[in-house]
Amino acid sequence: MALDDLYQEILLDHYKNPRNQGKMSDPDKRLQAKNPFCGDEVTLNLKFDGDRVREISFEGQGCVISQASVSLLTHYVKGKTVDQILELIERFQALVKGEIDQLDPQVEELMALQGVSEFPTRIKCATLAWNTLKKALHEYDSEQSDDEGR
């Protein structure tokens, strides 16, 4: 496993110039998560438009893998529907665990994280933000239906 497979140029670019990093005023949903094994934190902020994610930003610092992963996440998630995003999360998790080796061409920059599958202890770095997003979407969903139920 060559190091450059893990540290691809595109990841280092996202690490250095993260997309959509920063706070968000008045998000519809805000969720924080921690990687218990290294202490890294990530917070996601989301604004919705119906079942579509209209705006997304993240806060937090981490390693190249986690920063690039969350930056790419925000890049590809913006504008998609909840169902599309949930499917993307599944696919991405399978990719970094080495269960699949292809993604849709539209999200091909995510393929840069495939190398993580060869570094088991770094998988958490790559997936933390995605797990958090999944949880955020589910929570938002049930908060919405609670509201409707009232």
Binding site: P36, F37, P120, T121
Partner: protein, 416 residues
């Protein structure tokens, strides 16, 4: 020395024994080991799995980002998966590594019991329980003001469901019960017991220390809420065992070992917990032990747990029949089916003296109360002698054991 069965896998004892290094030792040439209920011997593959970890990829788990730490983490978690499948758990998140049955039960008593039980709630345990399934509940009762209800056994060591029906009340929060008794071999009908308890809204903790090693166990099919067992009684290393529980119970339970690895975050005054199952595994775990237990399960699966069970059923029948035929010998425990353990006494001879005489003939049995003082009291004996069997024992050993019991009786007869 084979169990013959047309369709079923047979156990070839000679071949199996060769895989247990202890029997090949010169000074153990004459060893007939009949104390597997206390702890079992270990096959080569288990001993090697332990030393291979130390020799090849010794590292702490879960947090290392280097090669041997990754391998240690993968092997530790692979053992968990192997064990989860072996006992029929839905997910490996339900398999918590602890030191053994005793720690598993104490973990439930504190982590679940202290959280859920209130004054005047009731806890039932049976009269044949091992001390490890008695004393944690006594202490829980003292801490919470809950009350103990004893499910009494009959003189043959059987528990009756009618008695349980009478004991269950609207206040009964927990029933703690052994799957198989280590002292008397009694096998309890767990599925029916769980049904009765659940119909009453009562949770069930099963002490599986003497069942998992010897018979197919499916915790999901049995419907148990908590299940505890020890690695060292199923060919595995010392210092490792398992607490299984239904996931929603693990979620609601408090952890009880606080420290490294079970933490999500720590502030000065408060902290938050890691996910299941690590929430319950504070501190560096017995990594070599867990990996060794995984290897033990793989050994049992290779031989086949059903084949082992059939083999042992043959041995215990033979032992009980022959002992019962000896004048002056009294056999305790239920008629009919039992686990591979038989308690007995020789009239006028204390069990300690029996086991010392048998040891002189190379036969290792146990004498004492077998951590079941309540059962001993009911049987009106201070102690018994106990022989217990496993897959590496054969029929000729049973015969030699029975002969030695008979000679022990004769040795003392001239004096007494």
């Amino acid at each position: 020395m084979q169990i013959n069965s047309e369709e079923k896998k047979a156990v070839d004892i000679r071949e199996i024994r060769e895989r247990f290094p202890i029997f090949a030792q010169r000074e153990n040439r004459d060893l007939i080991y009949l104390d597997s209920a206390a702890t079992t011997q270990k096959p080569d593959s288990v001993i090697k799995a332990v030393s291979r970890y130390y020799r090849e990829y010794n590292a702490n788990t879960h947090r290392g980002t280097y090669r041997i730490a990754e391998k240690a983490t993968v092997e530790y978690e692979r053992a968990r998966k192997t064990i989860a499948r072996f006992i029929g758990a839905v997910s490996e998140r339900q398999v918590v590594f602890v030191r053994g049955t005793t720690e598993a039960i104490n973990t439930v008593a504190v982590g679940w019991g202290d959280r859920v039980l209130k004054a005047d709630d009731e806890i039932i345990f049976s009269e044949l329980e091992h001390h490890s399934n008695i004393v944690p509940w006594q202490m829980l009762a003292q801490r919470t003001g809950a009350r103990i209800r004893l499910w009494e056994m009959d003189k043959e060591g059987r528990l009756h469901l009618d008695a349980l029906r009478n004991l269950l009340s609207t206040r009964t929060r927990l029933l703690a019960i052994a799957h198989v008794s280590n002292a008397l071999g009694t096998v309890n009908p767990i599925a029916e017991i769980v049904q009765l308890a659940h119909d009453n809204g009562t949770r069930v903790l099963v002490d599986g220390a003497q069942s998992v090693p010897h018979q197919q166990v499916d915790v999901t099919a049995l419907g148990v809420d908590f299940f505890a067992f020890s690695g060292h009684k199923m060919l595995g290393p010392t210092g490792i065992g398992v607490l299984y529980a239904r996931e929603e119970l693990l979620d609601e339970m408090n952890p009880v070992q606080f420290g490294g690895d079970m933490i999500e975050s720590v502030q000065v005054l408060t902290s938050t917990w890691n996910d299941l199952p690590w929430k319950f595994e504070g501190g560096t775990p017995n990594i070599a032990g867990a990996i060794g237990l995984g290897a033990a399960v793989e050994f049992l699966q290779e031989i086949g747990i059903d084949a082992i069970h059939r083999h042992e059923t043959g041995l215990i029948r033979r032992a009980v029949e022959q002992l019962q035929a000896l004048p002056g010998v009294r056999v305790f425990g239920p008629p009919g089916d039992r686990g591979p353990a038989v308690s007995f006494e020789i009239t006028g001879i204390h069990p300690h003296d029996i086991s010392t005489l048998l040891d002189q003939r190379g036969i290792a049995i146990r004498s004492g109360h077998h951590c079941a003082q309540l059962a001993m009291k009911k049987l009106e004996v201070p102690a018994t002698a106990r022989a217990s069997f496993y897959l590496y024992n054969d029929e000729s050993e049973i015969d030699r054991f029975v002969k030695a019991v008979s000679e022990t009786r004769d040795y003392f007869a001239k004096w007494l």
